[in-house]
Amino acid sequence: MKLPQIKHIRKPNLSQLAYNFFANITGLTIFNWEFLKQVFLPPYEIKEVKKHMDELGVKTFPIVSVTGFIIGLVLAMQSYPVLQRFGATDFLPNTVALSVIRELGPVITALIFAGRVSSGIGAELGSMRVTEQIDAMEVSAINPFNYLVVTRVIATTMILPILTIYVNFLALFGGYIAVIITENMSFEYYKNAVVGAIEFGDFIPGMAKTFVFGYIVGIVGAFKGFTADGGTEGVGRASTTAVVLASLLILIFDMVLVKLTLMLWPTLG
């Protein structure tokens, strides 16, 4: 796998910026292709995948818990006065449920996950690269791409949908707490309204895109870490650019996937 060299210049001019932009795009494309080639080839490092899923899940669990609860709570608190203006406060559970399940849950969880995990993978692999640990693996006849990259990308792709389901539940619970503060509504009524509002077609596109977001978080973090250079400064750069690039790609792919979903299944609109 030969990747274009990204040039790190303190004050780059416009052409150097353009070169680095295209070098990043080309590099990431080649890296993706390498992943797709290697993911089906042995050895299958199942233990490593499980270990990373455990670690990533545990690492992200506290922050997504808090975030999920607050999203639902704030969304309900913000929506209540708006709905009140139209005399539609009964629709508050529906508003919270649809917003969380279709958009906010998957995207916010993915962004938090990118901040926590993409940077972590970038820093970890970057540090392994600059301290020659990846080279050490290669000279020991162990495929570092398979062992370090493929396992992490599979783990992030698998764990993000699970975290998103968990965040969705917490957000709906947060929404209920806001509802009972402002409105006299029973849990039974709230639950029935939420379940009634969500159709299978709302749930599936939201969940499907979390696999894409999970993949983005893993592959971008691994790409930045695996190709890091320039000592400790390079590790910091790998970590930071991994978050920025992963977050940006999550938002771009969200836009594309929403449009694609609505084109393919117009009834979801």
Partner: protein, 250 residues
């Protein structure tokens, strides 16, 4: 006469952009020989080692290991060759996230199907070679520079390689530890009957280990021969280089 060369390099060249690091280097290393590669910083010594192990692809030339050109091999064939080569990195390159035991077990688990008892025996036996059995459950961050080098060495020899490549094995160590590591390398060479190529600046290390030495200068082999002939050379450049090394050594 049978070809006893374990490593044979023919007209090897490598440049980074416009900077020529190696230019038409040819070199033979016999089985069981200890070759020391000298040279100033940036003269391509580490690049030479990395080309031999396939970490860097040379621009031109041929590299034969056991009469097979590694540059014409697929990655799987190259990995088969690599299983018989040990590489000690300058920084030891221990895996941070693994304990000493896990570092040593890692290549064994990947290439052999040992039982856990056999793995334990092999790891302990190898750690005994480097006198660090007590460090078996420590993490790399808990080890001193000299200990890291020893563990790195243990990890490199655990698969019983025929060829060992050392990239500045004593750099960053105090003179006493440097001497200990050099003697350990020689001891292991004799015990395990390995061939080795050692890149170093350290004259003490070279004097202990070397059967033969080469000196790289301006991307070419400037001198090739016995270490004592090299250090006592009348060439002004070599005299100047080794006078500094001898002052450091004394």
């Amino acid at each position: 006469m049978a070809d006893t060369g374990l490593v044979k390099i023919k007209k090897l060249s490598k440049a980074f952009e416009t900077l020529k690091v190696l230019e038409k280097i040819s070199l033979d290393v016999e089985t069981g020989e200890n070759l020391v590669v000298f040279g100033q910083s940036g003269t391509g010594k580490s690049v030479l080692l990395k080309c031999i192990i396939g970490l860097l692809i040379p621009d031109e030339g041929e590299i034969y290991i056991k009469q097979k050109n590694i540059l014409e091999m697929s990655i799987n064939q190259l990995n088969e060759v690599r299983k018989n080569i040990g590489f000690l990195f300058q920084s030891a390159a221990l895996y941070d996230s693994m304990s000493v035991r896990e570092n040593l077990e890692f290549p064994l688990k990947k290439h052999f199907s040992f039982t856990q008892d056999e793995l334990n025996d092999k790891v302990e036996q190898t750690l005994e070679h480097v006198s660090l059995v007590d460090a078996i459950d420590k993490m790399p961050s808990e080890l001193s520079g000299g200990m890291r080098k020893r563990i790195g060495l243990a990890r490199s020899i655990i698969t019983d390689p025929e060829l060992m490549l050392y990239d500045e094995p004593t750099t960053g160590l105090d003179p006493i530890t440097s001497k200990e590591i050099s003697e350990l390398i020689l001891d292991l060479q004799n015990k395990l009957n390995m061939t080795s190529i050692v890149v170093t600046h350290d004259l003490i290390c070279a004097e202990i280990i070397a059967d033969r030495a080469i000196f790289l200068r301006e991307a070419k082999i400037f001198y090739e021969g016995k270490i004592d002939e090299l250090t006592s050379s009348s060439d002004p450049f070599l005299r100047n280089f080794f006078s500094h090394e001898i002052v450091k050594a004394s």
